[in-house]
């Protein structure tokens, strides 16, 4: 074919056109008939049309709004539906089809899979009035701003369903930290979980969607998306700076935090949640000198504060109060700081040198510490109240709850925390061949059981409810059973036998009865319940503890309204007594380190508010 190649003129040429008379028409006779032509029938099976949203399944995380390149998605408060789980928000996406470009990126990043696209695409409208000027996001325009709901659900298009959920742009698989083999780790107290390497941490951090659902779940609302993003960027120092804004014990929390954030993590809805805790441990352990990044220290403002107890609450209180310019003195009864972290947590979970790294960083902000000084014994509480501008109680819980069964006063029947103290201070060195029964299902019970395994004992945990009801971290439970800890479900303690020492432990196998008042099902022992006896050299009761505030004069105890379980405080940690603040386990229902840190930090702010007010009055 070339430019000289011209079709010859032919008088019959038009007749060629006749053959098209007998062909099927090419035209789609819309609106009379729909598209049904070569090569496929109807429009695409995964067409990207208007959105549909399963409002019950949606958790309002707002990732669709954040990923939208056209700013078409607004999260709008809804009142007409109940949230899917306790972390779900009440906002739902509303789409502006005057913006939307139908790119389906919102569907790709929807962690629940509730947001989908339909094959409906026709929407023509006469603008009834001109588009309102001050377009309030709450007002859903009927013209082109719609809340995505089930309107178009009958004609599904671009859908990410259960089958191809791992095909989304979200990475659902967790990078598991390396753990020592159970056979090896059960004979040693050395740490068995390895902190992430840089590659692992970056890979794990890159799964974060940055929606901040975790922030609301965290008792102290850490800047989680920010610090994870910094790790993903490859900058642990920036990451630690973010952590330090609300948590001065990053490495400790990185190792042993109860990580409610991970429960709230939206990636966990269809896959495995981010290992937020291990990421924190990564950035804390990868920065050698915390002080380099810790905040600028202001000059002392001359006001003096005292903190009773050397646990996380007091340390956090001390650190943030110091940042505000106060002089802080911590009174600790034991010979070392750390409180429950020092004596309650076994070193295979939290090595003491790692713990001291955090604590030393706090102390280096020039906080005074008085060790071996028990308030009430060595100094008087009233003196503290007199000589300091404000006093913070961060004593934690040290009075154990009792089993209230026969034989509890026998020797070798000990309380969980006492047992852990004995393990940690070295009085209990060897339990080889001993049989140990642990009562309880919390983290302390797991610590006791696993420490005993490491000391050579044969351990049985007896818990009143089912394993899945245990308040302990599921990972802990799994690791414990890997290490050979036997767990008895539905076991209600009946009696401990023995003359001087405990010898046998009897429990009854209960049945679960639904609670009429709507609470958790209750284990009930009746006459038919079988009773089981097992031999026991030690019985450890790890069923919780209450604060011991005997050092406080009774009249003040009454004044602050102490009910035997906790000290009531307001949002700033203020008790009912002027100048007396409280935090940590003694006032928190949620007895964990991060709540303690949070209460310490809030109390520091409370002090600021309180002293400012005092001054104003003077």
């Amino acid at each position: 074919m070339s430019s000289q190649d011209i079709e010859k003129k032919n008088g019959f040429a038009p007749i060629v056109g006749l053959k098209y008379l007998f062909k099927k028409p090419h035209t789609v006779r819309y609106p009379k008939e729909d598209l049904e032509v070569f090569p496929i029938s109807g429009n695409s099976p995964n067409y990207r049309g208007f959105h549909t949203n399963d409002l019950e399944k949606c958790i309002g995380c707002g990732n669709c709004a954040r990923v939208c390149p056209t700013d078409a998605v607004t999260m709008v408060e809804t009142t007409d539906l109940k949230p899917a789980n306790k972390f779900a928000k009440t906002v739902r996406p509303v789409f502006d089809y005057g913006r939307c470009c139908f790119c389906a990126q919102c569907v790709d990043v929807c962690p629940t899979g509730s947001l989908q696209m339909s094959r409906d695409y026709i929407h023509t409208f006469h603008p009834s009035v001109s588009i309102s000027v001050e377009e309030e996001p709450e007002i859903v325009s009927k013209d082109f701003i719609w809340r995505a709901d089930s309107t178009h659900v009958g004609n599904p298009g671009y859908v990410r369903n259960e089958k191809n959920k791992f095909d989304k742009v979200i990475n659902f698989e967790r990078t598991a930290p390396k753990k020592t083999d159970p056979a090896k780790r059960k004979i040693s107290f050395s740490k068995y979980v390895q902190i992430y390497s840089k590659e692992e941490a970056e890979k794990e951090a890159s799964r974060c969607l940055g929606c901040g659902a975790c922030v609301e779940a965290c008792p102290n609302e850490l800047h989680i998306p920010e610090y994870i993003s910094a790790i993903s960027k490859g900058d642990p120092e920036e990451s630690l700076t973010w952590i330090y804004k609300r948590n001065p014990l990053p490495l400790i929390c990185g190792e042993v935090c109860t990580h409610q954030c991970e429960e709230a993590c939206v990636v966990g809805i269809q896959g495995e949640p981010l290992a937020i805790r291990w990421l924190k441990a990564f950035s804390a352990s990868n920065v050698d000198d915390y002080l380099k990044i810790s905040n600028f220290l202001p000059k002392s403002n001359g006001k003096k504060l005292a903190a009773i107890g050397g646990g996380p609450a007091s340390l956090s209180f001390g650190y943030y109060a110091r940042l505000l310019g106060y002089d802080v003195t911590i009174y600790e009864a034991e010979e070392k700081l750390g409180g429950a972290m020092m004596w309650g947590i076994p070193i295979y979970r939290l090595p003491k040198d790692e713990m001291m790294k955090d604590i030393n960083a706090i102390l280096s902000t020039r906080i005074e510490v008085k060790l071996n000084t028990k308030v009430g014994r060595d100094v008087k509480f009233e003196d503290l109240m007199r000589s300091y501008d404000a006093v913070f109680i961060g004593v934690g819980n040290s009075k154990p709850m009792t089993l209230r069964i026969k034989g509890e006063d026998l020797e070798n029947v000990v309380q969980g925390l006492t047992f852990m103290h004995m393990v940690n201070d070295g009085t209990l060195k060897d339990l080889n061949g001993k049989k140990i029964v642990v009562v309880g299902g919390g983290n302390v019970a797991m610590d006791v059981a696993r420490s005993s395994v490491r000391l050579g004992a044969d351990v049985t945990i007896v818990y009143r409810r089912r394993i899945k009801d245990m308040p302990a971290d599921p990972e802990e439970i799994e690791d414990a059973s890997q290490e050979g800890v036997k767990i008895v479900e539905m076991g209600v303690p009946i009696e401990i036998y023995g003359e001087k020492h405990a010898k046998e432990f009897e429990y009854a196998v209960a049945s679960l009865v639904p609670d009429p008042s709507g609470g958790r099902p209750r284990p009930v022992v009746d006459d038919k319940s079988p009773h089981v006896k097992i031999s026991a050299d030690y019985v450890v009761a790890a069923i919780g503890q209450t604060p011991s505030i005997d050092f406080i004069p009774v009249d003040i105890q009454q004044k602050i309204g102490f009910d035997g379980k906790s000290i009531p405080v307001d949002e700033y940690g203020r008790t009912k007594v002027k100048g007396l603040f409280c935090g940590g386990d003694a006032s928190n229902a949620r007895q964990d380190i991060i709540s303690a840190i949070g209460s310490g930090m809030r109390a520091a702010k409370g002090v600021e508010v309180y002293l400012a007010k005092e001054e104003g009055n003077v």
């Binding site: 079709e7 099976p45 389906a104 990126q105 742009v169």
Partner: protein
């Protein structure tokens, strides 16, 4: 009475200004030339771009790397896929992401299909300017079959948003390749008909042969690329010279026309269409099984390491290039888009149109197959 014939030396032919476009059926897209005319002849041509300027390069700096995938297909409307592929290839080079073989084959299929679609669209436009409306009816109709295939594959008719760093978003649906094969058979039957009524058509030939001759040196000097360059005799195709994706595994030729006039420019495209069909048939045969995407971090954490790269793709109009600069963040630091029509539409036209008669101007514009959105951006 005898009339004096009007000729160009006659004073009645004064200079006057003529706006061709934006609202003119002879111009492609929303674009305008301001012509200074003397009689029927163009004395000076000034392009007036910016009617489609949307500030893509600025908008891309404000969006995440993957958010931009929704934006960039809009740079070149008739052939959006080249943008996506060039952009993703640039990211993959900078972030050192390995693309699975299957994904590379799928990309080649998408690119070649888009090339065919773009050809059909371009030549139908030529039909409009030469009064040859049958070609518009036929070619646009056939192009729709490609759009149907695209829609089935990607969920979108025009804007596919199908590429993703590391591969493509979905696998080929079941039975898609068979339909593609059917379409190629259909296309094979249609091509002789096209030849007959477009390329061997005396009207088209008379309007285009010898129009707007460009020599090889001139074409290089003026920055022409793609079929326009090859039609002048410079056999240079990125797919051959610097093979990307899996073009080095495929057997195809660069057709030679080499006359350098308007007719050889459309003929070049027509012949390359045949090669595209050949490539597609090979792809259907050779496409391997396996993954179609390498996992990359999610959009919020997707960072491209520091650096810069110029990634380019041979589109149906020429070299489509993306010069991308990253500062290691979640957003690009700068993206520069080199549209293939830039040099011909904004610079070469000012030379080529001079001396041309007014009725040839739209024909010339359509035979260069320029696409205003890609230089307006």
């Amino acid at each position: 009475m005898e009339l004096t014939p009007l000729n160009e030396s006659n004073d009645d032919y004064r200079y006057y200004e003529l706006f061709i476009g934006p609202n003119h059926p002879g111009i492609e897209g929303n674009f305008s030339y301001i012509l200074k005319m003397k009689g029927h002849t163009v004395a000076e041509a000034t392009p007036d771009p910016g009617l489609l300027h949307r500030g893509f390069e600025k908008l891309m700096e404000r969006r995440l790397w993957t958010q931009n995938l929704a934006l960039i297909p809009r740079i070149c409307v008739p052939e959006p896929d080249v943008n996506e592929v060039a952009y993703c290839m640039g990211i993959e080079h900078m972030a050192k992401i390995e693309v699975p073989k299957r994904a590379q084959y799928i990309r080649v299929i998408v690119l070649e299909l888009a090339r065919i679609a773009s050809f059909l669209f371009g030549v139908s436009g030529l039909g409009g300017t030469t009064g040859h409306y049958t070609s518009a009816q036929w070619l646009i109709g056939d192009r729709d079959y490609i759009l149907d295939l695209f829609e089935w594959l990607t969920g979108g008719r025009v804007y596919h948003i199908y590429q993703y760093p590391g591969g493509v978003k979905n696998d080929l649906p079941e039975g898609w390749l068979d339909k593609l094969s059917d379409f190629l058979d259909y296309m094979g039957k249609r091509l002789p008909e096209y030849d007959k009524f477009i390329f061997k058509n005396p009207i088209i030939q008379k309007r285009t042969v010898g129009l707007g001759y460009i020599s090889a040196d001139e074409a290089i000097e003026n920055g022409l690329t793609g079929p326009n360059l090859r039609a002048s005799g410079v056999i240079y195709d990125i797919r051959k010279a610097q093979p990307y994706l899996v073009y080095d595994e495929l057997d195809f030729e660069i057709p030679k026309t080499g006359d350098g006039d308007a007719f050889s420019r459309i003929l070049q495209r027509r012949l390359e269409l045949g090669e595209s069909i050949k490539i597609l048939r090979q792809c259907i045969k050779q496409i391997p099984q396996g993954p179609y995407r390498t996992k990359v971090p999610n959009p919020f954490q997707f960072r491209v390491p520091k650096g810069s790269y110029y990634s380019k793709v041979e589109s149906s109009r020429g070299e489509f290039g993306y010069y991308m600069v990253s500062d290691g963040d979640v957003k690009p630091y700068r993206v520069y888009v080199r549209g293939p029509s830039y040099s011909i539409g904004l610079y070469y036209a000012t030379k080529a149109l001079v001396g041309m008669r007014i009725e040839d101007v739209p024909v010339w514009i359509h035979t260069t197959d320029m696409c205003p959105p890609d230089f307006d951006r």
